[in-house]
């Protein structure tokens, strides 16, 4: 479902945010650290710092619904993946280098739009949890006439 080109975009180190909702349909959200496409593109693992994931965990465990938006500040490319949670677990030490690499890529993006790295020194990225989603739909969200179009 998520093709190789889109997977490369998701995993290159861009802005990632995950949204959920509670039983009263009030939205919740958190910034994510990294993402990984698995199972031939049918699943997406989103890594969220533990302190942020605590806001989402109840929602995910009760209804499983999630939306993940990716944005690259450099050229405004944006894409949204919707899915349903498969499982949630602590991120492992083996995964930490991958998270750090993607996070570094995101900070590089921020630098390109004028936000120095010193702004992010107190942003928390570890420990993290891994939220595995079964992908249901994908939407193009880059500003332009195709914004909002379902692409998968």
């Amino acid at each position: 479902m998520i093709g190789p080109e889109l997977a490369a975009f998701f995993e290159q180190g861009v802005g990632i945010h995950i949204g959920t909702r509670n039983e009263r349909l009030h939205p919740n959200g958190a910034r994510a650290i990294a993402a990984k496409v698995e199972s031939g593109g049918t699943q997406l693992v989103v890594y969220v710092s533990e302190v942020a994931a605590s806001r989402l965990q109840v929602d995910l465990e009760s209804n499983g619904q999630a939306a993940v938006v990716f944005g690259r500040p450099e050229d405004e490319r944006s894409c949204q993946v919707k899915g349903v949670m498969v499982d949630i677990r602590p991120a492992t030490d083996d995964e930490q280098p991958m998270l750090e690499r993607q996070w570094d890529g995101f900070l590089n993006q921020l630098e390109k739009i004028g936000i120095p790295r010193v702004s992010s020194v107190n942003w928390t990225t570890w420990p993290a949890v891994a939220v595995r989603l079964k992908v249901t739909t994908i939407f193009e969200q880059t500003p332009g006439p195709q914004a909002g179009a379902q692409i998968a």
Binding site: H17, T20, G29, E76, N122
Partner: protein, 461 residues
Amino acid sequence: MTVTLESLATCFQGLLPSQLFTCSSDGIPNAAYLSHVEYVDSEHVALSFQFFNKSRRNIAENPHALVFVLDPDTGQGWSLRLKYVRSETAGPVFDRMALRIEAIASYCGLKGIFKLRAADIYRVASVEALPEANACDCARVTESKLDPVFTVKALQDLSARIQQAHCLETLVDSILEGLEESFGFRNSYILVPTDQEGVLVTMATRGYAVGSVGAEVRHGEGIGGMVAEARKPIRISGLLRGMLYALAMHKAESEPQLTRLTRQIPVPGIPNPESQLGVPLLVRGELVGVLCLESEVPYRFHEEDKASIELLGGYLAIAIQNMQWQERTAESAAEPEPARVDAASPAALRACTRTQHNVVYYAGDECILVDGEYLIRGLPAKILWRLLSTRDATGREEFTNRELRLDKSLNLPEWKDNLESRLLLLRRRLDQKCPSVRLAPRSRGRFALEIDGSVALNLQP
């Protein structure tokens, strides 16, 4: 709420994208990036409604939303829990948001494409710090904060420069020079109204390629034209412009009939401005000009600078208008005795270089071309043609502002003709495009038309 919206003013500049989380009535969450969250009052913010997207559809079904904003100075993230209240299609909030969008779209040469459908007003139920995005230890990190712009000292320095200016030309140059040396703004220009209704022209520039004096801007075009139209300062940070620019490019590609504005003289502009500021120069409601500043530094102009910016605009406007009146008053007292050319004058000696220029005046368009290249149009063109024709017919080289004012063929308005601004513009265009033809000041209200070589005049309908 414990944290006030006022204290988050820096988050509402559009420098960094915000995130909007919504949910449909059937329980599907949605996450999207937002270019801007607008502060409305201590309990409300506004989000722009430009497109019928998923977020907007969700809000129509379920009024609860969540927005993340980030303080560009400290790195602190904030979570705002919102509830949709109403959509406004008129009023100050709508106007402010529409103006910003239009100014950016116009900057891309695509004015009128992006329409703000409504300013959606949301009540802010709570504001909470995002624990995963804590502020850095340093209180302020951006260059602009370490280097405050509109200090009293800088304003005093600029004022001192202005006091020393003895004519309109030195005044406008000293303003731009002072803005660079006292405020650090290396790229700036001043637009003044032309004799054509709703059209401005660059009279002075600093930090741009030679040749940008004389660029025309219509009301509503670019940041200068938008400021002239709205008569309010406009401040734009880089990211919002960038997002709309991306949209503009997509739109332009998909609709090839949309063409960019073609100009005889390009409007000044640095390639990648991160911050832009336009300030109307107003005296008792009259638009004397527009000051435009650009910077490659993101978030260069701050919300808290607004009062200083408006004060500066008013001060510069009075200084320019006073100088215009002073020049006109002094000129009335001068003796208007045109002198005939002296065979031994420097101008006559320079004529020995024998350069030949072909000057064509298109009377219908009131436009002058020199050697096939556009020079100037409108009233300055009529003035130049009148000077060249007189010199050609009588040999006279010296002229007075007063005789131009009395010349009915020029149709100068009796009140506020801005003749000095027109002559300054003409002088600068000649300096740039045809330096062998010069308007050389002789005394207040008196100048000489100096020409190296010869000029062939050609009148076209």
